[in-house]
Amino acid sequence: MSIRDLMMMAGRNLWKRKLRTFLTVLGVVIGTTSIVVMISIGIGMNEGFKKQIEEWGSLQVIDVYASGSGGGYVMMAPASSSSSKSKKDVPLDNAAIEKFKAIEHVEAVSPILQSSMILVSGKYVNYANVIGIDPAAMEALGYKVEEGRVLNGEDKDGLVIGRGVIESMYNPKMSWQMQAQATPPEIDAMNDKIMLTYDWNYGTKGQDKSIKPIKVNVVGVMPNNGSNSYSVIMPMQQMQKIMKDMEAWQKKQGSTSETKKKGQYNQVSVKVDDINEVQNVQQQIKDMGFQASSLTDQLESMKETTKMLRMVLGAIGAISLIVAAIGITNTMVMAIYERTREIGVMKVIGASLRDIKLLFLTEAAFIGFAGGIAGSLISFVMSKVVNVIAMQQGSDMTSLIPIWLYLSAIGFATVIGILSGYLPAKRAMKLSALAAIKTE
């Protein structure tokens, strides 16, 4: 019996018992819808986390520290376990950077040098977290500007400022009460004269006149959200020059800040080209004897904490689909009782056992398939409704249905149909051909 004929006969049989078929399909529709909507909420949750974390920085960037030195900004990353194993310090230097570059899926590597400095514009000042990076890697590392441009490989003294630094500039000569009442200064970072100094007392009575603020050339402004709005990014070379001056001055003052061996960095950022490879690359770096962390650590731990909730949501959907499966089995068993004679006739006129089995499996598969299609359509609508309600309540837990979820829902419902139909089909197959002869 060809597939076409099977489908034709199965379709006719289901159509003949429209109401019963409809009710059985309805069960599958409810099961499919609940499982899809529940999973979509789980997916929406994860996407929400991802969006949230991406505001803090790129998910594809790994921060590497020399083993033994403290980590940078780590919010809730679990303590790296591998650092305890390799007590021997591996230098985080240019050789290490070359090694990172050689790892598969690594797109860009940049050393990171950080220091707190004062940004000056006219009579206004502000603290800024100054970061020196390899300017060629700035774009790859995920820095975004809303005005101007990011640094590139040709920049020697360009500067990219976070909007937050500029907007919160203040006059150090005022008392803080006056500062609170003062109107915020209007500074055009791109065109006004901006200077940078490592003298934290600049503009106050304690200012060291021997330190000359450096005039800088602002080429871009970063938006006022995320972790970089209070940062200033500059090329590594320029940063190192300023740091050298700063350390010389600090030495003169008698205070020694951290002693760093020559040619070594505190931190290196590694950009990975594929988000799914981040954990893998991170592990490889750890295996070299460095400490490494990335925002994917946070994402993973957030996903982990909501895993239970997502599993419960999925289970609710699964239960309704199981109920639907029982419904299909019930319908098919009933159909076999009704069609005992018909099955017998088919056997007498030459249907093989396989034909009989396939016919009933096809009918069950149809029920599952139809339920899967209708369930997907309804899920689409439900997902929209959930999103609207969530938005009204200000919740960011929204429902998201990717195409693969629709496709696998339809596929899954069909498979459920076939599985539910298996037992009845087996039963139909075993019915005696003799039933056809018996007169009522």
């Binding site: 019996m1 004929d5 018909e342 006129i349 056992l353 003799l434």
Partner: protein, 246 residues
Amino acid sequence: MGKNIIRIKNVKKLYRMGTEVITAVNGISLNVQQGEVCCLFGKSGSGKSTLLNLMAGLEKPTKGEIIIHNKHIERMNENQLAAFRQQYIGFVFQSYNLLPTLTALENVTLPLIFRGVSVKERTERAKEMLKAVGLEGRTHHKPGEMSGGQQQRVSIARAFINNPQVVFADEPTGNLDTKTTYEMMDLITGLASKYKQTLVIVTHDWELSEYADRIVVMMDGKIEKIEKIEQKKMLQNVQQSGGDVE
């Protein structure tokens, strides 16, 4: 007449009804020749229907051999039987047994569907067959939209579409009025003789036996007597030779 297409050797069929054992067929031996119209006649409970079921492979004999077309029916499994029926057997039921969801045409093509014959070929053959049973205008009617006689015509078309060696008919006219009964018997025997097909008819209606070449009268699971109808044969021969002369 040709070779024996059906050979039954000492067949027994016992049923267990609770503690009681009923002997439905008690050691029957019978040969049916190719092209023969054989009538199994008897009252209800005589074992004629059981014998038919055994021949068609719907039931397995407790003892004995049933050989159709040199093949042992009693040794076949379900799948072998299905293949065998597709190729050699046609069946006409008392209560027509058409599939209610299919049209007349589709019902007739059903045996070919199971054989995997292409749509074009089977539709062509089914149309021819429906024409042969006089139902050209009703190809797309469902069984529910047809009279008993019409349904039985569809059923007959279905039984003959495979061009089977043997056609079994179980009380084929049991649900029909007298006039239709004769029409139906003319039809079945006409089709069978056209292709030299063997016909085994079960009936309790003596009137029908006049269509048979041989009447097997059964009683209590045994063959009581076998009557040959030579007259009819002779009559047919005269008619045929007469036709030749014309």
